[in-house]
Amino acid sequence: MLEVKVEKRLKSFKIEANFRVKEKEYVVVLGRSGAGKSMIAKVISGIERADRCKVILKGKDISNLPPEKRRISYLPQSNTLFPHMSILENLEFPLRIRKEKFNRRKVEEIASQFNVKEILFKRPSEVSGGEVQRVALARAILSDPEVIILDEPLSSLDFLTKIKLIDFLKELKGRRTILHITHDPLEAEKLADRVLYVERGRTFYFESWKDFIERARGELPQKIKEFFPYRQQS
């Protein structure tokens, strides 16, 4: 279980996030650009500080731990493969920093699962956008986190690659707790066990995509705002 209570004053609004995520759930964090989704993710992963913050993971308060000790892997929006390393070196990075014994078999196994074994000796600049995201995910899994936060992982991909990667992400469901940030309702529809809607820093929790749509009374998600007061989780 991941419990989050965050308060942070931004220039134009205040973030007041309050939600719980069950273990190994796939939660899609939906909201418009600039709603505060990424900021909440950064606070949870320890990259940003908040005015008030309580992050409890599996009953342990990790609010004051540095990012590397939280066991929350945050994948930012842009290409975050280390450009000076090969794909293989990128995958080995989490093992290398934990000073784990070089385990080529483990890396190759994960690389096979994520369909990136053929590109192990290439540089990040030589592979496609979809492959970059798959390598980033594989690397996150190798860091053995409890929670993976994907910040707009599909936003820079073309439609076909996006569809392929959505199928791929479906296979990750049930293996790790995942917070998937997006402004695209398609991703929420295809992937979400639960939906967390963010509007000007406030979080609204929905049991499922269906629940979210029902509450929206058939309107577009952007207009869902007026229904939120009835669904805010305490």
């Binding site: 990012p67 930012p76 929006q77 975050t80 000076h84 290398r96 986190p145």
Partner: protein, 262 residues
């Protein structure tokens, strides 16, 4: 929008003039070189000794510059305060001070009767007319290049790469070791190359604080003063050749590293 033809021609013309301005004096010195004179220079022990002193001084000045400069630029990269701009201006001061003035200020500070000079004398280090004086003068006039270039390197790193590394489990030290320094390395190397180049060519400050042991530029100046162009040109050609070889090697390493990261 397409540039007008006259603008294109003007830019091309100015580029050609600029390249000619840079290369013409260098090419001319090679053309006007008397081969016999050059042969004699190659056999001149004093010339080689001076070149060796210059290379030794510049190498140590660059190393000292890197040891002090890279942490300074990392500190500036990490701490964005209202004083950052002021500190950056101070760092660039050696570039704007006339180099003879640098020599005078360093001599004022480090002569054997000054408190700092006395302190170093106790450690067996004197700066007047020694290799230490040459290194200090070279380091002073060149350190700004190392700091500025390293700072550019650190600032060019996508912050999201640093966040990713942290959230993958890397400690701040590991992030510096495995991510920040390798990514900034081409910039640091380029700063070091510029510092080395600046150090090799320094003459004004060295003339004041450490005329001896004689460096190549000081020897060139001395020969020019005593015997004229004929005597100083072969040394200039030799120094240009050695400098070009060193810079081509170092720059190719820098470009190769940059290409790996791009």
């Amino acid at each position: 929008m397409k540039n007008p033809k006259w603008l294109y021609l003007l830019v091309i013309t100015l580029t050609i003039i600029c390249l000619t301005f840079i290369t013409l004096p260098i090419l001319n010195v090679f053309i006007s070189l008397d081969p016999e004179n050059f042969k004699n220079t190659l056999k001149d022990g004093e010339v080689w000794k001076a070149i060796f002193t210059s290379l030794k001084g510049a190498t140590f000045a660059t190393i000292v510059g890197l040891i002090m400069g890279v942490p300074t630029s990392y500190f500036l990269f990490q701490t964005e305060s209202k004083y950052s701009e002021l500190i950056e201006s101070v760092i660039n001061l050696p570039i704007v001070i006339p180099h003879v003035a640098v020599g005078i200020t360093l001599l004022e500070l480090l002569n054997s009767n000054s408190p700092l000079g006395k302190f170093f004398s106790h450690l067996g280090i004197s700066f007047v007319d020694t290799i230490y004086g040459i290194i200090i003068a070279m380091c002073f006039v060149s350190i700004s290049y190392t700091i500025t270039s390293s700072l550019m390197g650190f600032r060019s790193i996508n912050k999201e790469l640093i966040w990713t590394a942290r959230s993958l489990g890397a400690s701040p030290y590991q992030v510096v070791k495995f991510v920040i320094l390798p990514l900034a390395f081409p910039y640091i190397l380029r700063g070091a190359i510029l510092s080395f180049a600046r150090s090799i060519s320094e003459v004004g400050a060295i003339l004041i604080i450490a005329y001896y042991p004689i460096t190549a530029p000081v020897l060139m100046y001395e020969r020019f003063e005593d015997y004229g162009l004929k005597s100083s040109t072969p040394i200039a050609v030799l120094v240009i050749c050695i400098s070009l070889i060193i810079f081509i090697i170092l720059l190719s390493i820098s470009y190769r590293r940059e290409k790996r990261i791009a």
